[in-house]
């Protein structure tokens, strides 16, 4: 399971980095979102992977999973959610102000030549 999770995080991050380096704002936003998914998953598994054990104290429990990463990841999810909403609005505003969706405000043919 560790290898699978590691692979998932790796693929998400790689996809995120690739998209974040694109020239249009929409892929960049998607890339940032993928990266935040990757990091949320990463934070979550930092408490080690365990199946079927509770995070809070109970008399019947044989073992526990670490509750702290779950709290951390909740904070990180809220923050990345807010940031994504903000960056989408900003991208729309940039589209309206600059007149196209390139991150540097270039026209497409300029972009091709550059």
């Amino acid at each position: 399971m560790e290898a699978l999770i590691a692979l998932v995080i790796g693929v998400l991050t790689a996809g995120g980095v690739f998209l974040a380096l694109r020239g249009q704002t929409f892929p960049v936003v998607l890339g940032l979102t993928l990266m935040s998914y990757a990091v949320n998953l990463f934070l979550f598994v930092m408490g080690r992977l365990a199946i079927g054990v509770p995070p809070v104290i109970s008399a019947a429990a044989e073992g526990y999973t670490d509750p702290l990463p779950q709290a951390l990841v909740l904070t990180a999810i809220v923050i990345s959610f807010g940031m994504t909403a903000f960056v989408i609005v900003l991208a729309l505003k940039a589209r309206a102000e600059i007149g196209n969706d390139h991150v540097d405000g270039l026209q497409r043919d300029e972009d091709r030549n550059a």
């Binding site: 960049v28 990757a38 990091v39 930092m46 990180a76 903000f86 900003l90 991150v103 405000g105």
Partner: protein
């Protein structure tokens, strides 16, 4: 003791409450909003002074949120360094706000709310003793800074803002990766506890801890605008509104503060296998940043852009001091820090006044009309330029002198001396050129009557900031003693660790 007990949380909670109140007052008369914002910002100054006084005898106040003992709960720690940063921030904020009240706060909505939340994030970042909490405060100050940066809108501002937001979001992701790795290895996020655990890193985990440590460095270097991660800064600072640019003079210093705090505490001399992790990186990169920042200042085509590059250069000097890592060098850096913040902020505000006075020529380096009120503007520009270029008798000179003196027994001595002195000369030439272009090489315009001289209200914050720079010289003795004591405290992380973890027992 009772009154003192809650002192550390006040600089964090006060701007938050003020921000919320201002949000509720968003439809109230502008005068009321400005009044509330100004009172809340002014109140931070005596609070910061009280904290400096408390911390000046070496006390490290530890505030346990909700009385949860460290390392389980989150702590706020006031030591000399945190108090010093708080005082610098609060003084800067007062003058930036005074300038904003002049009119630029009406260009868009919610300026004062964002301003207070920015202070909330800044003060929190300086006070917190928990790495994840540092991330949260970083996000708060960044989110407020996105709003402030874009305040007023406009094509260039939006474009620069988009780059700023995207690069900082990537930075936040890296921060979380680094924090996650450290937690996975050590099982704690309290900085003092991390310092203890990292010093006992088993060899198996050494590579993980080192990569997490360097990843954190990359994040802080991005916030501090260290080479090669400074490219976002000149555009962002040059295109935002003047009071925001002035307030942002402290933003890069948050990165520098974090580097100093985290690496002195967690990766310092006592950190065993991970000791002095940054030594091969920080000083050379800082030297390169100083050089390139100053080259940018020489090549700049407008005053605001030039000041933005001078901010990059000042980060170079600052991190060079921290990178040398001796007590004298860190003290020089800490003395230089408020100087560079106040001088850069004064120049940003002044550049805005100059730009407005020159009408359509704004602050571009082109031969323009003769400015009304040029004597006052020119006088202020001369003082501010002399301060930031490091000419005697102002504080920039003292800071650089302390830095050069501290470098005497460093192996980097020839590099430090040659780069600091050469960039000092380059900065002087750049500022002399821009000053003579703006003030002397003027042509008689067609309609000089259309240009209005800057008002006294606009120039008062600039003069105030320059008086602070002068104050740094007048009280240079006690202030450099304080800086030196701060450096000594930082180099003995054992005290900090005992203060935080000892409070648990």
């Amino acid at each position: 003791m009772n009154g003192l007990m809650h002192l550390p949380i006040l600089p964090v909670i006060l701007p938050l409450i003020a921000g919320i109140v201002l949000l509720a007052l968003r439809n109230a008369p502008l005068r009321l909003q400005r009044g509330v914002s100004l009172v809340a910002t002014l109140a931070l100054v005596p609070l910061a002074i009280a904290l400096v006084q408390t911390a000046s005898d070496g006390t490290q106040l530890v505030y346990q949120l909700g009385n949860w003992v460290a390392p389980y709960g989150i702590v706020l720690v006031v030591d000399r360094l945190a108090a010093w940063m708080l005082l610098t921030t609060s003084l800067l904020a007062v003058f930036a706000l005074l300038y904003a009240i002049r009119g630029s706060d009406t260009e868009g909505r919610h300026f004062h709310v964002l301003f207070q939340l920015q202070l909330f994030g800044l003060n929190g970042a300086f006070l917190t003793g928990d790495l994840f909490n540092l991330f949260v405060f970083f996000e708060i100050l960044l989110l407020a800074s996105y709003g402030l940066l874009l305040h007023g809108g406009g094509r260039k501002r939006v474009k620069a803002g988009l780059h700023y937001v995207v690069i900082n979001l990537v930075g936040s992701t890296l921060f979380l990766f680094a924090v996650g790795t450290l937690y996975g290895v050590t099982g704690t996020l309290n900085m003092a506890d991390l310092a203890v655990k990292l010093a006992a890193t088993p060899p198996d985990n050494l590579a993980l801890v080192q990569s997490a440590g360097l990843l954190l460095f990359a994040v802080f270097a991005l916030k501090a605008a260290l080479l090669p991660l400074y490219l976002w800064l000149p555009a962002a600072y040059a295109h935002t509104s003047a009071p925001v640019a002035a307030l942002f003079a402290i933003m890069t210093k948050v990165g520098a503060y974090s580097i100093l705090r985290v690496y002195a505490l967690m990766f310092g001399d006592d950190a065993g296998p991970v000791a002095n992790l940054l030594d091969p990186w920080l000083a050379p990169l800082a030297l390169a940043t100083l050089t390139l920042g100053m080259l940018g200042a020489v090549a700049a085509t407008a005053l605001r852009q030039q000041v933005a590059y001078l901010v990059v250069a000042s980060i170079g000097s600052l991190l060079l001091a921290f990178g040398l890592g001796t007590r004298d060098a860190i003290a020089a850096g800490l003395y230089y820090l408020p100087h560079s913040v106040f001088a850069a902020a004064a120049l940003f505000l002044l550049a805005d006044s100059i730009g407005r006075t020159r009408g359509e020529f704004t602050d571009r380096f082109e031969s323009g009309p003769e400015m009304p009120g040029a004597r006052v503007l020119g006088g202020l520009f001369f003082v501010a330029a002399a301060a930031i270029a490091g000419l005697p008798p102002l504080s920039g000179f003292l800071g650089k002198f302390m830095l050069l003196k501290a470098a005497l027994d460093s192996p980097l001595l020839p590099w430090v001396w040659s780069v600091v002195l050469a960039t000092g000369l380059a900065g002087m030439i750049a500022l002399a050129r821009s000053g003579s272009l703006l003030f002397y090489r003027t042509h008689s315009p067609h309609g000089p009557a259309s240009l209005t001289p800057p008002t006294a209200v606009a120039l008062a914050p600039v003069a105030g900031l320059l008086l602070l720079v002068a104050g740094l010289v007048i009280w240079a003795g006690p202030l450099s003693d304080y800086a030196s004591a701060t450096a000594a405290q930082l180099l003995q992380p054992q005290q900090y660790i005992e203060a935080v973890l000892g409070a648990a027992s």
